[in-house]
Symmetry: C2
Subunit: 216 residues, 2 copies
Amino acid sequence: MLRYRNRIEPVGDKSQRLPAAQRRAQLIDVGRAVFAKRGYEATSVEEIADRAKVSKPIVYEHFGGKEGLYAVVVDREMDYVVRRIAEAISTGTPRERVERAALAFLQYVKDHPDGFAVLAHDAPITSARGGMSSLLNDVAEKVGDVFATTFKEAGYDAKAAPIYAHALIGMVTFVGQWWTDVRKPSVEEVANHIAALAWMGLRHLPKRPSLTTSRR
Amino acid sequence: MLRYRNRIEPVGDKSQRLPAAQRRAQLIDVGRAVFAKRGYEATSVEEIADRAKVSKPIVYEHFGGKEGLYAVVVDREMDYVVRRIAEAISTGTPRERVERAALAFLQYVKDHPDGFAVLAHDAPITSARGGMSSLLNDVAEKVGDVFATTFKEAGYDAKAAPIYAHALIGMVTFVGQWWTDVRKPSVEEVANHIAALAWMGLRHLPKRPSLTTSRR
DNA sequence: CTCCTAACTTACGCATAGGTAACTTACGAT
DNA sequence: ATCGTAAGTTACCTATGCGTAAGTTAGGAG
């Protein structure tokens, strides 16, 4: 009954029929790119399939649907960025931690623009509790926990910790978004300014900020 | 041919048939609420019409379509928030300006949660240039201009002005988003912390920050 | 009371997009 | 060589949602 078109395949696109694991990996890559470009709602499974040179049902076979793929993409990206930041703030003086965190995040923005875009975009409204939810909120929450203990030890009001956590994440996120547009100056330089602002404040802003940490 | 349903209108919803101006105003209100709740893409004209107890074509008559209504909503909101912030930073010492700006913005978040949500959500990808665009970006740009001149006068690198502008807007935006979820502590208190962070930095963070400005 | 018009309505057209059923084909193991 | 299965395909169903054509009605001016 069903006759496939004569596949004369002009030239060029070489191999189809990847093993499951590879196809899965490829679809995650493609999915991240498309979600990054269009946002969740405006992304169509068709476009993802097309870009992967594959038909729609393949996507459903591997991920159950749009949400499933999105969930996997987000999960991986979150894991990656959280690990990277956690590593950055694991050692050093407080100031060094601030500097390293800013640099780590901006470097992430630079190296994984698509992943960052996915995280920065609105999450689908569906699942979550009450309000609107950005994915970065979860990151901020984790930072907030770290802050809370630090605050307690230093005799500060632990209730205020989330404020500062969200403030810093918002700062670096928004700057990251802007930076992806202009791509100048270098992330190192931007990180210097961000860290200076966060650490010294506008009041004691140095004219030409630089990191105390040696640039790795 | 077309027979309307017997309109027995159980009870309660009183008047339909508003004059054009009022209907328009109502649709803007309803539209803002729905856009706030769902984001641009996920908003349907139907829902707006339903909530306004009106049929779809009315929306098209007044605004030409979804984009038209969205544009009007955004325009009004941008105008409002920019005016409010501009007012806040128009007088006083630099520090006072920072404090007043933070308070003004957070008060805006509190008083106009729907409007803020619309601005904080992703804008439709369509129109703008290259990258992804948040509406707040425009606000940040204006702030950047102000900073640039201030920086020049003070002998700082004007090229860095946009960094600080975006950092501060991002800070306050993200905190605002978080605050709409938890609604505690008071905006005044949150503004104190934000202003303290922006002005003093983490380094000289006071234990119990308060504004230099008298609370109006 | 009549009639005109602004304010509405129903009922579609049509495109997009998520998801699925049924079928086909490459390829490696026996 | 053949045959089983993983990998992939076409072709559909259904829902939703933007936008529009054509018809209806309230209510005030003359």
